[in-house]
């Protein structure tokens, strides 16, 4: 296994026509991943006493892959995909989401979140619930609100649908904190949270997610033309490799530098991982009583009597 960065060739195609770039050390057995994830989805629902699931389908690769795997696990008739565009969302996003719904034959629903977001920040000079100045809210505030409105819609729909919200966040974005707390990261369980973006692409290709979705540049689509990689300043294969060696393989800074990773990138990614630690954990509880949840009251979620009747 080569340790030098750059110039990686990915499966399934090499050369100009290749579908995506897959660093060799990140390549996994996609069939086993598929098998484990499908079992996981089925089991999570069963242990909670549910047979249905729902998810927010953005038109991107992460939610498309989860939709494919969830449909395989519980049948498309038990899966609800909710499309939740904002008025500035790329039309391509909705098109790609529809492509997934058609391909799977699952249930779908479209909820335009524009009135909710505009109702808060205001629109066309009119103040919203946030008051005067809401219209000048930063892209960060707007993006976070959109992610949280989508969460609200999903959890509301989950009651009507009688299913659990299936998470669609990948390991890369979780580790660098490129998520909105209680927004896109909110879910009952997450089937792909231990797959780096490059591995999401590999499994997506293996299970037949449409090529157009695999090929396009990943984007949170929070404003027109936004792409993850332009915003972050490094490519996913580069970032995935660095995270893999740093976290999974426990390489020190010196070892990472010796492997050819640029010092400033190592520094920056380390900082992103450290500053987003809070996003990956449940909020701490002050220890006061004899037994405290999460500290010394420790039960599996699945325990006798825990499933919904």
């Amino acid at each position: 296994m080569s340790a030098a960065p750059g110039g990686r060739q990915g499966e399934p195609n090499d050369g100009a026509d290749r579908l995506f770039e897959l660093p060799p050390e990140l390549a996994i057995d996609a069939e086993i991943a598929r098998r484990v994830i499908v079992d996981f989805v089925r089991n999570q629902l069963r242990q909670a006493g549910f047979s249905r699931g729902l998810l927010g389908l953005s038109g991107g690769i992460d939610s498309a892959l989860v939709a494919f795997l969830a449909a395989e696990a519980i049948g498309p008739e038990n899966l609800l995909c909710v499309l939740m565009p904002y008025r500035t969302s790329s039309p391509e996003s909705v098109e790609h989401a529809r492509l997934v719904v058609e391909r799977l034959g699952c249930e779908s629903d479209l909820v335009d979140i524009s009135p909710m977001v505009d109702g808060y920040f205001g629109r066309d000079g009119a103040a919203g619930a946030a008051g005067e100045g809401g219209g000048e809210a930063s892209p960060l505030r707007r993006g976070n609100l959109m992610a949280r409105e989508r969460m609200c819609v999903l959890y509301d729909r989950s009651v009507v649908w009688g299913g659990l919200v299936v998470g669609t966040g990948n390991k890369t974005e979780s580790l660098i904190g490129y998520t909105t707390l209680f927004g896109d990261s909110a879910c009952a369980f997450n089937p792909i949270g231990d797959l780096y973006k490059s591995q999401v692409r590999q499994v997506a290709a293996a299970v037949g997610v449409p090529e157009a979705i695999i090929r396009k540049a990943p984007s949170a689509d929070l404003w027109p033309g936004q792409t993850d990689e332009a915003e972050a300043g490094f490519s996913y294969p580069e970032l995935d490799r660095l995270l893999f060696w740093m976290i999974d393989k426990r390489r020190t800074d010196e070892e990472l530098l010796a492997m050819g990773f640029p010092g400033p990138t190592v520094e920056r990614v380390k900082r992103l991982v450290a500053t987003s630690e809070f996003k990956r954990q449940v909020p701490p509880v002050a220890k006061l009583g004899p037994r405290t949840t999460g500290v010394d009251y420790l039960y599996p979620r699945r325990r006798p009597g825990s499933a919904r009747k």
Binding site: I28, D29, F40, L298, Y299, R302
Partner: protein, 306 residues
């Protein structure tokens, strides 16, 4: 939960009996489930628990290895495996090595056993029974073989992980276990029966892949990954004799040499060495010249574990 699992064990015992099995092996904590945390105390049984005795009653003319949370008289909880034979609880092995690192947290909830013994069985050979992590320590299969075991049984709840595409079977955990089981069978010239749990529980996928390995190290049977099932395998116990005559590794073992050197190493590690002046000066780990080197080695080691 426990009641359902007991019922399932009885059904499988009946099926195995119908299929002509003489020995039936169930996975680690098959009666209770593995991911227990604070539930451990709630599902614990004494070894004379009527529920366990009831299961044992189903083993007339059979041998079975079942695993459960055992509560001792002093209320310590153990991960145990019982040999049930001819209606009785014949023997109980308490897990010796409790992994408490990485994704494991066993020592928090369980006490470690401190006896490693073989047991005579109605099958006509001595059995060596161990539980999962016990077999990630060379001393366990070695001691069992020296104590006369001809058939080593490991019951496991091994969580599958490491899907790196470089592995021959796509699952790093499976590759590691297969390597170990073949090696132990060959080096102890004994049969090895490895029975691993199957199925998803919480975040963990137990990967199955149970195996029976001949004393030659050859795999006689390998169960599929991730498929639960009752699998029957015919073994020829006479193969142990044939293998040990042809390859007398056990005859040539030097336990007295091993013991002597172990005593020396132990004395050194506990700071009690008195025979060499140099050793008397470096009872502490930090002063040892090779300490830095060992640290470097640890950083580069592969991270496959049970």
């Amino acid at each position: 939960m426990l009641e359902t699992n007991l019922l399932r064990h009885r059904e499988l015992l009946a099926q195995a009996r119908a299929a002509g099995a003489g020995l039936v092996v169930f996975p680690e904590l098959g009666l209770t489930g593995y991911q227990l945390q604070d539930l451990a105390a709630e599902v614990a049984m004494r070894k004379d628990d009527p529920r366990l005795l009831g299961l044992a009653a189903d083993t007339k003319g059979l041998s079975a290895v079942v695993s459960f949370v055992e509560e001792a008289d002093d209320h310590r909880l153990f991960i145990s495996a019982a040999l049930l034979e001819d209606g009785d609880v014949r023997f109980v092995h308490r897990k010796l090595f409790l992994p408490t690192y990485g994704l494991f947290d066993e020592r928090r909830f369980f006490a470690a056993g401190d006896r490693l013994r073989t047991v005579d069985s109605r099958l006509g050979v001595k059995l060596g029974i161990a539980i999962c992590e016990d077999f990630w320590h060379l001393s366990v299969p070695e001691t069992l073989a020296l104590d006369g075991a001809q058939l080593l049984i490991n019951v496991s709840s091994s969580p599958g992980r490491d899907l790196a595409a470089i592995h021959e079977v796509g699952l790093g955990t499976a590759v590691s276990w297969r390597t170990l089981m073949r090696t132990y069978a060959q080096l102890t010239t004994s049969f090895v029966v490895f029975c691993n749990r199957v199925g998803m529980d919480e975040t963990i996928s137990f990967w199955g892949g149970s195996e029976v390995i001949a004393p030659s190290g050859e795999a006689l049977f390998t169960a599929p990954l991730f498929d639960e099932g009752l699998y029957t395998v015919d073994i020829e116990l006479g193969d142990v004799r044939r293998e040990r005559i042809g390859l007398p590794l056990l005859r040539d073992e030097r336990p007295e040499l091993h013991l002597r050197e172990l005593r020396r190493i132990l004395a050194h590690r506990t700071g009690l060495a008195i025979d060499e002046a140099s050793e008397a000066n470096d009872g502490g780990e930090a002063g040892r010249p090779e300490a830095g080197q060992r640290g470097a080695k640890a950083a580069g080691e592969p991270d496959r574990r049970p």
